[in-house]
């Protein structure tokens, strides 16, 4: 009740990049995150990288979850990371990628600054736990 009591909440942006129209996974994640008590900003289908950067910066999210099923992660994710750096938002945003990503690419994405890559069949609890443990505090 008190005016100064900390009311911190984990804010996540769930974004779909690329041209594929498969947003079911993103929907499932968004709902699971909500049920875990997170504030989820869902930005819809076909987000361009600069759109994701705009949303992540303005919403000041702790977590950015990018869902890619088109296989274009190697071109799209670097653009997002570059954009975040431009606005000084890279350092304290936890970046997650969900989708079908070959192992070689996984390593490369992590090298770039992606915290974790979640493939098909990852239990929801595992993703939520990862967010709880690793989301940077504000």
């Amino acid at each position: 009740m008190s005016a100064d009591s900390d009311q911190q909440s984990i804010r996540c942006l769930v974004a779909k990049v690329g041209l594929d129209g498969h947003d079911r996974g993103a929907h499932v994640i968004a709902r699971a995150f909500r049920d875990a008590g997170f504030e989820v900003i869902y930005s819809g289908l076909h987000n361009a990288p600069d759109e994701i950067v705009q949303a992540a910066v303005q919403e000041d999210v702790n977590v950015l979850g990018i869902s890619i099923l088109s296989g274009a992660h190697n071109t799209l994710v670097p653009k997002v990371i570059e954009g975040l750096k431009e606005y000084d938002a890279f350092e304290d945003t936890l970046i997650l990628v969900g989708g079908v990503v070959p192992d070689d690419d996984k390593a490369e994405l992590k090298e770039m600054g992606v915290a974790e890559v979640f493939g098909p069949g990852t239990p929801m609890e595992e993703t939520i736990e990862f967010v709880r443990e690793n989301a940077p505090r504000r």
Binding site: A3, R11, Q54, A55, E59, R138
Partner: protein, 357 residues
């Protein structure tokens, strides 16, 4: 500027400087601190005050699916094309069970993709009663101090909380979808009383004409009833919720009759007319002195809210000192005392201090 920043600590002072210098990241972080009620956020917000007062604030409300987000997108785009900068605060409900929320209003912001001069921020109600309107008011200050020309607040017109939120605005627009039986619902929710401009969106659908007609009748009734109630005091006939009308008795000169605008937000039809109507209302507010009266009422309310929070906090401490709430309740349960007496006892020291001063 240095005068402001002198009061607050290093991290916050830098943040304030960055915000005033136009850094988006700083603006976003300030709003986060406001939402989190981060330690020290109050000093930050009070330092913002000096830099506010130049934005035009419009509240947009209506039932879910009325087209608020789509209209906000088009209006923001229209302002941008005129070279003005825009801030948007979109308020969505959160789950009362988990505190979680899915905030999806960004999906509709298609016209402003990648344009950083439209600063769009989603907010959800967190926890405490009245906390949302406090957070929104403070977030508006941040956008104002940042230098946004126009600020749009978007919220579902569902309850008192949301109505309090749009009262932060100088001009309130209410969206009404055609033939939805919603019209009666709106009356119930008290939404009709707060609108300065009514927008019949999706005006290309069947039933739009009828909705306009019904709305016109209802607004007419609202005028008539209020006029009789207020025994000739015209100010109350477009009551914005009561209190501020009692503070200025001088608006007999001119009154604002709520306007009805038809739009098809998804195609942008009617958007110029809507924006023009907002500007008309703004001009009326300035001309009639209502803008200032509204600001006075708003500040008065803000001070009261802050004091209520602060006093509540002091009293919570006092309750703890007296052994905690459970202890006090035990006495009441045992019929040794009663709630009124307990309240009197708890507040007594505070009362004593205030009387002495």
């Amino acid at each position: 500027m240095t005068g402001d920043t002198g009061r607050i600590g290093g991290e916050h002072a830098d943040l304030l400087d960055d915000l005033l210098a136009g850094k988006h990241r700083a603006l976003a972080r300030v709003i986060t601190k406001i939402e989190n009620r981060d330690p020290g956020y109050r000093d930050l917000v009070s330092a913002l005050h000096d830099h506010t007062g130049s934005s035009e604030v419009v509240g947009i409300t209506g039932s879910p699916g009325a087209g608020k987000s789509t209209l906000v997108d088009k209006v923001a785009n229209y302002y941008r094309e005129r070279g003005e900068t825009v801030g948007v605060i979109a308020v969505d409900p959160s789950s009362p069970f988990t505190g979680g929320a899915v905030l999806g209003d960004r999906i509709r912001m298609a016209s402003n993709v990648g344009d950083m001069d439209v600063f769009f921020r989603s907010m959800s109600a967190r926890g405490t009663l009245g906390g949302l309107s406090t957070a929104t008011t403070d977030a508006v200050k941040a956008l104002d101090a940042f230098g946004k020309d126009k600020i749009l607040i978007e919220t579902v017109g569902a309850g008192q909380n949301e109505i309090d939120v749009v009262k932060t605005a100088d001009t309130v627009a209410v969206l009404v979808p055609p033939e939805s039986g919603d019209n009666v619902q709106m009356l119930k929710a008290g939404i009709l009383e707060i609108g300065d401009v009514f927008v019949v969106n999706k005006a290309d659908l069947d039933g739009a004409d009828r909705t306009v007609q019904e709305l016109r009748e209802m607004l007419h009734m609202r005028d008539d009833r209020a006029a009789t109630l207020s025994t000739g005091h015209h100010g109350a006939s477009r009551s914005q919720g009561g209190s501020e009308d009692s503070e200025d008795g001088d608006d007999e000169r001119e009154r604002w009759d709520p306007r009805i605008v038809e739009t098809v937000a998804k195609d942008g039809d009617g958007v110029p007319e809507f924006v023009e109507t907002l500007a008309d209302h703004r001009a009326y507010l300035e001309r009639s002195g209502r803008l200032e009266a509204k600001a006075r009422t708003r500040y008065a309310e803000e001070i009261r809210n802050l004091l209520r929070d602060d006093v509540g906090e002091l009293l919570e401490d006092e309750i703890e000192r007296r052994g905690g709430m459970a202890e006090l309740v035990a006495g009441v349960m045992a019929r040794e005392t009663d709630p009124y007496s307990v309240a009197d006892e708890v507040i007594d020291p505070l009362e004593g201090c205030l009387d002495d001063s």
